[in-house]
């Protein structure tokens, strides 16, 4: 097992992790501020990817495609918040899960209706395609490096937004005490719509960015959604820092587990059995990680104690 392979896989895991972070950040903000479990977050990811693919097809510009993805997802998020979600804030988790599960059905089937079941494709822009050589002689795709950079940049930006800006102060206040913030004269329903749209825009951005390395199709949001939930539960719901740590943990566990667990089992098992045991354990690894974290700390790594 060469160092180069290991370094490559670590980078892959990091790239996967930061994309999960884009999803998880929105989910965790929405839960932290509004106390809402939003299963339909994966649909916003899908909407972002579809708009990016369509706009890139029309204009040929990847940048415009990204902007369209974020705008469309934010608009869809704001619309859903205004029409459905705000009726759910004071309901229990079960109602929230089911209503947003219903939204998934509507979004997925609606998208299938409009675009059909065949996947769309979104190309990596020429300027970002091809490999670059990193220190140590590692050849690595430039686009994936850009994804890592973008994800970390967004994480930094979100951190600054939360700690340094007026809206960030309102968000943090909203997490602690809803009545207090209403008493301070902040328009709470506008804040909620804004937070929801912000979360949606991040999901849309993730969908568009990942859409360029995978296919754009109906149902692409749900696997990512589940992983994003795993991320925020590991990190502690409501914590942006937890989401970042959880996302990178999950990204690395998933990627490295898939590559190295079969190899590990080959050390003491026959190769075919090792591959099957190793890969099955690898796909279970992040859920095992999550279960272990929750059993150890029932409210996640950075979660408030119950």
């Amino acid at each position: 097992m060469s160092h180069i392979l290991i370094a490559e896989q670590v980078l892959n895991g990091l790239q996967f992790g930061v994309m999960l972070f884009l999803m998880a950040a929105g989910l965790t903000l929405i839960f932290g501020v509004m106390g809402l479990i939003n299963l339909a977050h994966g649909s916003l990811y899908m909407i972002g990817a579809f708009f990016a693919a369509v706009v890139a097809g029309w204009t040929g510009s990847f940048l415009l495609a990204l902007i369209a993805a974020m705008a469309a997802a934010a608009a869809a998020g704001a619309l859903v918040e205004l029409v459905v979600i705000r009726r759910l804030y004071d309901k229990d988790h079960l109602d929230q899960v089911l209503a947003t599960f219903a939204l998934i059905l509507i979004f997925s089937e609606g998208t299938r209706w409009v675009f059909g079941s065949f996947p769309l494709f979104l190309d990596i822009p020429d300027a970002l395609s091809g490999p670059v050589t990193l220190p140590g002689g590692i050849q690595y795709p430039l686009y994936r490096l850009v994804l890592i950079g973008t994800g970390l940049g967004v994480a930094l930006g979100l951190g600054l937004l939360i700690t340094r800006t007026r809206i960030g102060i309102q968000i943090r206040a909203g997490e602690n005490d809803r009545e207090m913030i209403a008493a301070l004269g902040v328009d709470i329903s506008r804040l909620y719509t804004l937070v929801f749209a912000l979360g949606a825009a991040l999901a849309g951005l993730a969908g568009a960015l990942v859409g360029a390395i995978q296919s754009v199709q109906v149902g692409m949001g749900e696997p990512v959604l589940i992983l994003a939930f795993v991320v925020i539960v590991i990190g502690g719901i409501g914590s942006i820092r937890g989401a970042l740590v959880g996302a990178i943990l999950v990204g690395l566990t998933d990627t490295l587990g898939g590559v190295f667990l079969p190899e590990l089992f080959k050390l003491f098992m026959e190769p075919s059995a090792a591959t099957s045991v190793g890969s099955s354990l690898a796909s279970m690894a992040i859920y095992i990680l999550m279960a272990v974290v929750l059993i150890w700390r029932p409210t996640g790594l950075f979660g408030a104690r119950a």
């Binding site: 459905v84 509507i106 999550m290 119950a306």
Partner: protein
Amino acid sequence: MRREAALNAAILVALIAVPAWAHLSDEPFTITLATRAVILALAAVGLNIALGIGGMVSFGHAVYFGIGGYAMGILASHAQSYTPMELFGLSIEGTKSMLVIWLVAVVLSALAALVIGLLSLRTSGVYFIMITLAFGQMFFFFSISWAAYGGEDGLSIYVRNGFPGLNTLVPIQYFGLCLAILLVVLWFNARLARSPFGLALNAARQSPARAETVGLNPMRLRLVAFVISGAITGLAGALFADLNRFVSPTMFSWQLSGEITVLIIIGGVGRLMGPVAGAVVFVALEHLLGGLTEFWHIYLGAALLLVVLFARGGLVGLIAGRPGGGGGGHG
């Protein structure tokens, strides 16, 4: 209360009359649909014990459904290939006997529920929803990579398993068998809800502090309810696999967990016949709307949304009025 009893009776009559009519007019597909509804209802009745009485929002009940399914698939596949399975040095024969398969399904899903419950019940609220989901995903991915039993493709069983005195391949006979099981479990559920255990569990959901102050341990009550719930859903899984003569990892999928939950919500959380009403409506919608449009999930989604937002008691609540004890979430 009286209206709910009348509604319950009406649902049962419909559940018997429709397949009887289908049998007489030689419409086996309708009987298969009714059997599907009965089995899904059974799975949801199981979940409703944890969810409706115990207040545990499990989003991973597909685990038990899948275990029941694979118990059937694995035992029957060994029987049909005449090869015993090797397990820890033991050589175990497969079987085509439903009774044995059910027993294995119930015991294994109860065991799984015991372990998962012990670990998950330490958490509450969203964390409980998510950890049960995580266990579901573990089983899902495990089944996908379990090449010995079909992996992603699943397992086909050629002939439906046998039950003494019945020809289970005749649709109406298999339907009758499943309905009988559902009725027995509903009877058990009705008794359970009124039993000392049910009273305590129900109180522990509404006010854990109250249960503790009278000397009851809410955690233990919930765990026992969770095991009973998992065992019933596991039995439903074995029946479902036998209906389709096929098992695959989709029985473990989180969408299936969601679907079982949806049945309960449509029907009415914590209501005895809620899951049955929900399953009947769900299968009917699936069939009728599915025939009209390929995109019937849109309408299902819209219906579900309307129920959650405007008809909190589900269909039973809508027709029969206020609940007889139920509703609400865990933590």
